[in-house]
Symmetry: C2
């Protein structure tokens, strides 16, 4: 292979697209986030890295809660809109049917096939972002997007983001079973 | 929709699959990780959450460096193997052509279309995991997987993981342009 040096502003490929919700100034607000990952197994914890200038950050600081909502491709345009427009200027919650997590009060998007409500546990202060870490205290799904009571990727139809080309991607074909496909390897 | 409560052990869907590298006891080691995300914009920083029992953790503590390598589907079986077998028992680096990052000495996998070397900046101690945060100090790509000097998803052919169904997925069709597709929405 011919190896080249690329911009250090590099990324995992591809990144999951979610709508992160929080109460801000007493109103539900949602933003599009791809910098999100599970960070702890037990209890289940998730973290999202938000640029410090975002309207949402203050709401999470104050309410000590946030939600992670997984949109399907049917919500791609609305999701993208939530990444373009600030809640300072627009009531983005008006785009969705909003409910509130019974454990935290965090706003949830009913149209999203999977919804998690999270209790804030830590805020890691980084140079240009804040990393919000939360315990998943409630998780919900559209029954029509589940098989045997568990979220089913082929029904959820979530999508991903790549940067710096800034494109969304559907989830493609199943490529194998994890903790299984490598059993044939020997070294 | 009929909303059901699901296991709180819920996940972003889908998660990027990477091979995380570190020097452990003087030798290169690689593990499969899906709990990884960018966490800071400037400087570029990335974080990976590793269960505390993993062999790799001690190596990152000691060397203060790690690498994030993005495998294509051609490496799916080897990647999965690196998630099944511990470096305590097997020399997983023997599966790959290994080079070493010029800035950190972290081991890189030549067969991976994208490789990043990271200087450790923080370790966040969580109940069952350690979250390793690092600055991306060097990023490299296979020229054959780039277009106009940037990584090209359609050439990289990376893959994703979903849990708890434990399946890998190819990246599917381009579904739209980010910071653009939502411009037509009004609210």
């Amino acid at each position: 292979m011919t190896k080249i040096t690329i911009d250090k502003n590099a990324f995992p490929y591809p990144m999951p697209m979610v709508l992160l919700g929080a109460m801000v100034d007493g109103r539900p607000n949602f933003m599009a986030v791809a910098w999100v990952t599970r960070v702890n197994y037990q209890p289940p914890m998730i973290a999202a890295a938000l640029g410090k200038s975002h309207y949402t950050n203050g709401g999470i600081h104050a309410s000590r809660a946030f939600s992670v909502n997984i949109p399907g491709v049917a919500l791609l345009e609305k999701t993208d809109y939530c990444g373009i427009v600030s809640g300072k200027k627009k009531d983005k919650a008006s785009l969705f049917s909003v409910t509130f997590g019974e454990k935290t009060g965090a706003p949830l998007i009913e149209e999203c096939p999977v919804q998690m409500e999270c209790k804030l546990t830590d805020i890691i202060d980084l140079p240009s972002n804040e990393l919000f870490v939360g315990e998943i205290v409630g998780a919900y799904a559209d029954a029509a997007c589940c098989s045997e009571g568990k979220p089913d990727m082929e029904k959820i139809r979530s999508f991903t983001l790549t940067m710096p080309d800034n494109r969304y991607w559907e989830v493609g074909r199943c490529a194998g079973k994890a903790w299984n496909a490598g059993k044939k390897i020997k070294c």
